[in-house]
């Protein structure tokens, strides 16, 4: 952000364009690297892990958009993630059947396909539902909450309660969604066998492409005027309102977009892991998604992706070897990131690390702007002195 501002002041439009082109090039290069080189380097197991984690990274991008840029901490993104997963899973359940019910339904005494399952015969509808259902739900919930200027921790608590509600709903409706076991045992998608390794590679490629597209979308949103508005909402919403903006609309839109991203991530994750269950919408998972972003770096899109991959690989490595230790480690990660590295790894590199580099090269330090009153060093100093 600092970099952007400085460049603009100097009127170096040309250089901005070049930087943008460079970024596009790097993104494409990374995507190609992921698609063509990674399968050759990694074993099948690690590659399938990578594929899943890339799907999670899409959801992390969504969280970064609302938490990093807009300052709303949603603890309910598991719901949107799972809804996207369920939407696709419902199609996967129905796809091999021409007529008749998914197996579990007859176990629970349901004789006729419920009406809301009917449209999921069509792949087109399911694919649209992956995006639209989470976005719509987020928009409605968001509108009801933001309209009343409920925000900060209240917003977090309400989204957290939403996870409990949806968890209960999907857990309790065994006849409709197979309860705790969730939807699993997928066979075909558009005629291709899901478990086939070639199909899985297609899914992997698709995930990479979606991640690149999601990154491009977020980059476009945050670099434009829209992005400035989001940051303004994060930094001082009241002042924003006094300047004649209505934050409600912006917040609803960004919440819906981020929910849609979570839904896409959930659908891709479901495709690759072959399972979606209410576990994806419990509180623990929803908060875990936040910590990926926190570790990588809030308000930096690369950070969200990087954090999702880093934390998940660490998790799979550590919990393979010591199942108990991971939880301790995860708890410690929350504490350490929040207290020592509030901007995450990428944020540290960008702010402190970049400054270090500049001073090493003998350049003057850049003038730093502060994102909010709480982080203003002078205000901090005053507070601490009052406290003692």
């Amino acid at each position: 952000m600092i970099l952007d501002a400085v460049l603009e002041v100097k009127g170096m439009k040309q250089q901005r364009k070049r930087l943008l082109l460079m970024e596009v090039g790097v993104t494409i290069a990374i995507a190609l690297l992921l698609i063509f080189v990674m399968p050759a380097v990694l074993t099948g197991f690690r590659l399938s892990l990578l594929a899943r984690f890339l799907a999670l990274a899409i959801a992390a991008l969504g969280i970064d958009l609302i938490w990093g840029y807009t300052g709303m901490l949603s603890l309910g993104h598991g719901v949107f993630f799972a809804l996207g997963g369920y939407a696709l899973a419902m199609h996967l359940q129905l796809a091999p059947l021409k007529n008749g019910l998914p197996e579990f339904m007859s176990l629970f005494g349901i004789t006729e396909l419920p009406w809301f399952w009917q449209p999921f015969y069509s792949f087109g509808f399911a694919a649209a539902a992956v995006v639209i259902i989470p976005a719509l739900l987020a928009a409605i919930l968001g509108y009801l909450v933001f309209r009343n200027r409920i925000r900060g921790v209240y917003f977090s608590i309400l989204t957290q309660a939403a996870t409990i509600v949806f968890f209960n709903f999907f857990n309790g409706q065994q006849g409709f969604f197979n309860g705790t076991n969730g939807l699993t045992n997928f066979k075909t998608l558009l005629g291709a066998s899901v478990s086939n390794s070639q199909t899985q590679f297609v899914f992997y490629t698709l995930t990479v492409l979606f991640l690149a597209a999601a990154y491009a979308l977020c980059r476009w949103l945050t670099s434009d005027r829209f992005g400035r508005v989001l940051i303004a909402i994060r930094d001082d919403e009241s002042r924003m309102r006094f300047s004649g903006y209505d934050p409600t609309g912006f917040k609803v839109v960004v919440f819906a977009i981020s929910a849609a991203l979570a839904g896409i991530g959930g659908a891709l994750f479901t495709l690759q892991s072959g399972l979606i269950s209410p576990k994806a919408m419990d509180i623990a998972f929803s908060i875990e998604m936040v910590i990926w972003v926190a570790v990588g770096g809030r308000a930096s899109l690369i950070g969200a992706i990087f954090g999702a991959l880093l934390v998940n690989f660490a998790k799979s490595l550590l919990s393979e070897k010591f199942p108990g230790i991971w939880v301790f480690f995860q708890g410690a990660l929350f504490l350490i990131v929040v207290t020592v590295l509030p901007d995450g790894v990428v944020g540290w590199l960008r702010y402190q690390g970049f400054q270090h580099l500049l001073t090493l090269l003998g350049r003057n330090k850049q003038v730093a702007t502060y994102p909010s009153l709480e982080e203003d060093p002078e205000v901090q100093h005053e507070r601490e002195n009052i406290r003692n």
């Binding site: 409920i150 900060g152 509600v165 507070r383 009052i386």
Partner: protein, 386 residues
């Protein structure tokens, strides 16, 4: 039908009492310090485990004592969780004031650690932690008396941290090798443990067709005592006065010489202690496990949000309201009352289970917040952000 309704109201009130006792500490901490403590549920869990330990200890003492363990368990649960809360405030939360979202994440980390701690706590772990604390904090304490401590602080930490960790884990590994299972076996494990109520709390009071279990009455009584105690403490004691003044205007109180840091610590310890008492109470209702706290945490937050921050009355009304509505919906008591209207019957039948009732209560809460975004008793003031 009337009997059913009475039954519903009693059960609702007893659920509300459990919610209230769980939410009380949370409401005080949130109202006073603006801190969302996601580890509150785990503090309740610690209180419940303390009750379990006290019960087992008193069982060994024999008959007359084993009947009274609950009293001592209440006191000990309060003290243990208050101490843990104090450590938590001094160690973590103190650095995060004014950043509520970060506090939320940090306390979630604490809650994860406490949960896993309850699962895997064993003699080795306890001894290891004790050695680490002794070496690390001992060294810090000894060196902190040197005049140039601030300058060498980072060095001390960088050197002492790996040394203490190494010594602690080496001792742990050695003990584990030598004594094997005797020291490495988890105390509680991942399974739930059971606290049995003393004999005089079993059974129930019978009023007509209404059956009121003594444990529920005990919890209702305990809640009343706690609320009254908190009220008296806040309104009549000198520290209560300080707490209220800091709550109203922190900087002004600081100017007038009130030690706000100490007030924060005391408040947090008090709130945590109340969580311990709540844990002791819920251990009478069902078995206790590492996930015990998780079952309560969201409901208690709802109580705080609906009640309005920092208002004791609000928390009481909200807890009772949510408890009663929850029970009335989940037990289908309302179904015969709306019998003439078919769609309503279908609606109540559909939501008539414990888990589905939560769905409806959440919808009602969202609807309620449309009318009163600040809760039942919103805080009055001129702040823009209120």
């Amino acid at each position: 039908m009337i009997a059913g309704l009475l039954d519903g109201i009693f059960n609702g009130i007893s659920i509300g009492a459990v919610l209230l006792i769980a939410a009380l500490g949370l409401a005080i901490v949130f109202g006073l310090m603006g801190v969302i403590n996601l580890a509150h549920g785990e503090l309740m869990m610690l209180g419940a485990y303390t009750t379990f330990v006290v019960q087992n200890g008193f069982k060994m003492l024999g008959k007359p004592w084993s009947e009274t363990y609950i009293i001592f368990a209440l006191i000990l649960a309060f003290l243990v969780t208050a101490a843990v809360g104090l450590v938590l405030e001094r160690g973590v939360i103190r650095y995060l004031y004014g950043r509520p979202l970060e506090t939320l994440l940090a306390t979630w980390g604490v809650s994860l650690i406490l949960q896993q701690f309850a699962r895997s706590v064993s003699w080795v772990l306890v001894i290891g932690i004790a050695i680490f604390c002794f070496l690390f904090f001992g060294a810090l304490w000894v060196l902190s008396r040197r005049p140039d401590f601030e300058r060498i602080r980072n060095w001390v930490i960088a050197i002492m941290l790996p040394i203490s960790l190494g010594v602690a884990s080496a001792t742990g590994a050695f003990l584990g090798q030598t004594y094997k299972l005797a020291v490495t076996k988890p105390w509680f494990g991942a399974q739930n443990v059971d606290v049995t109520a003393p004999n005089w709390l079993r059974g129930g009071l019978r009023l007509g067709t209404l059956q009121m279990p003594y444990t529920r009455l005990f919890i209702i009584g305990l809640t009343i005592v706690c609320v009254a105690g908190i009220y008296v403490f806040l309104q009549r004691s000198p520290w209560g006065l300080r707490i209220r003044s800091v709550m109203q205007n922190r900087s002004m109180s600081a100017c007038l010489g009130i030690p706000t840091a100490k007030v924060d610590a005391i408040t947090f310890a008090l709130g945590s202690g109340l969580a311990g008492i709540a844990g002791c109470a819920i251990s009478l209702l069902g078995s206790v496990g590492p996930n015990t706290g998780q079952n309560y945490i969201v409901d208690t937050f709802m109580v705080v949000v609906v009640g309005g921050v920092g208002k004791l009355v609000g928390s009481i009304v909200a807890a009772m309201g949510i408890g009663t509505i929850n029970y009335l919906i989940s037990s289908k008591v309302l179904v015969p009352m709306v019998a003439p209207i078919k769609p309503l019957v279908d609606l109540f039948e559909f939501f008539g289970t414990t888990s589905m009732a939560k769905v409806m209560v959440f919808a009602l809460i969202i609807a309620f917040l449309q009318v009163r975004p600040g809760g039942i008793f919103p805080q009055k003031g001129r702040s823009v952000d209120a």
